[in-house]
Amino acid sequence: MKAFSIYLTGVGGQGIGLISEIILRAADHAGHPVKSVDTHGLAQRGGIVVSQIRIGDKIFSPIIPAGQADLVISLERHEAFRAAGTALKDKGCLIYYNTVWQPLSVRLNQTAEIEESYIQDLCRARGIQVISVFHADLPDIRMQNMAMLSEIHRHRMIPDIDLEHYQTAMADLMSGTMLAENRALFDKRLTA
């Protein structure tokens, strides 16, 4: 498989770790060589979390060169804008969950909140396909990541990974009601 690089980002507490590990394992189940690396730093404290995944035969480092990601997955709007600006390649794909966790300087009224139109404009200028996801009816905010994963698969944003690979990966990592609830949400959005 031709190298495919995925840059995942969000704010500490949003569940980047789980979605990243599902994609990593799904790629592995699909038979692709794959590596990933998480950067959390002080993320647990409301900072940025980044996870990078690289799929393909000739991959050595799990770290994606700046501006070379094929796909950016963000669980927050400001982080979507940041990653589109720094990590994503021209003509790449951006999918983000359209929620806002205001950074400090926005709350202090020192900088403006990133609006959806900024992202649209940036993506249009650089030929980036963009999908914004939001579901008002999620039972638990910790399921935003699963809603995202479902959209990612629905739009086939990662090549050569099938439904069964995602499902097996989810079953590797979860069990009981947690698995059942997440699977139900994942499946529901696929057909929605």
Binding site: V11, E21, L24, R25, D28, V34, K35, S36, V37, D38, T39, H40, G41, L42, A43, Q44, R45, G46, G47, I48, K58, I59, F60, S61, P62, I63, I64, P65, A66, G67, H78, E79, F81, R82, G85, T86, T99, V100, W101, Q102, P103, L104, S105, V106, R107, L108, N109, Q110, T111, E113, I114, Y118, L122, I141, D172, L173, M174, S175, T177, L179
Partner: protein, 630 residues
Amino acid sequence: MKKMEDMLLRREAFSEVVMGNTAIVRAMVEAGTRVVSSYPGSPTPEIALAIQSIPKNDRPFYFEFSTNEKVATELAYGAAVNGHLSTVFFKSVGLNVAADTFVQLSLMNIIGGMVVVLGDDPGANSSQNEQDNRHYARMSYTPVLEPADPDEVYRFYLEAARLSQTLRMPVILRLTTHVCHAKERVAFGSWSPVQPDDTPRFDPANGPYIPLTTHAIEMKRAALARLEQVRQRAEETELNRFIDNGNRLRGVITMGLSFLSLMDVLDGAAAQPDILKLAYVHPLPRKKIVRFLSSHQEIKVLEELDDVVENQIKAIAFDLQLPVKIFGKTQPEDWIGEYTPDKVHQVLYATWPDMVQPAPTSEAEDPAPHRPPQMCPGCGHRSAFHAIKQALAPTDITVADIGCHTLGFLPPYEIGQLLMCMGASTAMASGLRLFNTSRKVVAFMGDSTFFHAALPGIINAIFNHHPITLILMENGTTAMTGHQDNPASGKNFNEETDKIPVRQVLEGLGIKHIAEVDTYQQAKLAELVVEATSIDEFSVVIARHPCMLKFTREQRKNSTYQQKHVTIDQGVCERIHTCIGAFGCPTFTRDTEGNVTINTDLCIGDGSCIQTCPTKAIIPAGKKDKGGAA
């Protein structure tokens, strides 16, 4: 669900997708490691999480979190001279704490073997600096193996364990942040548990174990001799990699993560250089290097952080008068930061501009507002800082220590104006108080740090009469590194224990002025700080509140858990913005008109904010405003 403990204890050989910090635990199991110790610090705490997945009675080795890295090292050493293969792991700067013991280890006949696992942090992702611990290895004659990915973490640990058992000496396995946290499929060997022979084998005749007078010199001689034996092993090991691209002109010598970056950068490059990737970065395989130097005209030493290997290679070439041009580090930036593919691209292009495409010189500008880390919603430290700020004059000096409360240095609090390392706040504060009667000096500290390295500084303040105030931010856990228990928690890694209460320790030291309060009682806390800082003696205020992140996570495991949140009564709110501008909980969100709303994803309904609102517009969780909205 795949259970980590099943994987770690599987008998037959298998492969699995794992992180470096998990791979190492399987290696410990296969190697027959008997004692493991640590003190938490990024990038290594996930090693303990993997260990924790194995129920205590099934664990083939003893594990503990010790009170600090020096204690952990001493414990592992004690076990090893009793005949047990042992391992100690901690973060980069942990070696500074352990150093007094660590530098002696190579002098000793460590009959059981001992592996020192270091989590170095190039790029200072989660550390106070990016120190290159290979310097310690050189000064102490300790071998170093440096893996590049989880697969090598596993194989290099096995090598380190075997070597240290055979030569009865300490061996360092040097990991770095993105090796610890990288994930890939790793092929593991089989494991056949053997009944451990736990006979205490310590025998002074295996020594000397007392490095005094003439012994110390003899022991150093023996350490140097052992290091030469390791060099032999470093020459022969299959763990070195030689990539022969048939290039008789150019070669690269590299190691660790830099190697992976190099391979990515070279993809598609014209005339690929030959590559020698070292497994042992100390001592160097001299003969192998000489052969590599002799068979090329130009050599690039590609090395993250300091020029440790480069200088040794240059010395070899100089001594043998080899006709080879060696390119090393040239500008300060070469010493700084992680050798990511981007960085290696720049370094390689600067060395051989004809080999690779020009590297992008600057990264694209970050278009979004910065997102500094924050204290969590409900954090007791926030309430404390909000109150304490009102109790101090702007000219007073506040000294931080290491932990979540360090984040108080950020706006809007800006409390904690100096930071050094764990336990340093009290003594730094004492120094700041000398010849200073006009500006009060207040030190801060967390409870894990209190037991880790703070006691000498505190005792010194009492012993030498330094009239400063120490504010102990007691949250019952080691929060910043992922909630490990500490001596005040009432639990250690393995079982329930008696708490060692901070207050009684302080009383036992003879401190007369000790006050304590829950940090949510902000007015009371402010009062106590005013009082404490006006006493002309060493005083302590224990500002206590359980870590709310830990508390909330535990609550969430409960199936009946419902997230609660406060609300803003928009009819009462006068947009004074104390909640945002001074109290600064990330839950408060401002819209373009200046209205304040609650981010319900974040708010946990703790209500510590309610007392901060001058117009009483914050409605407790579960209560309704006058308009009837919940």
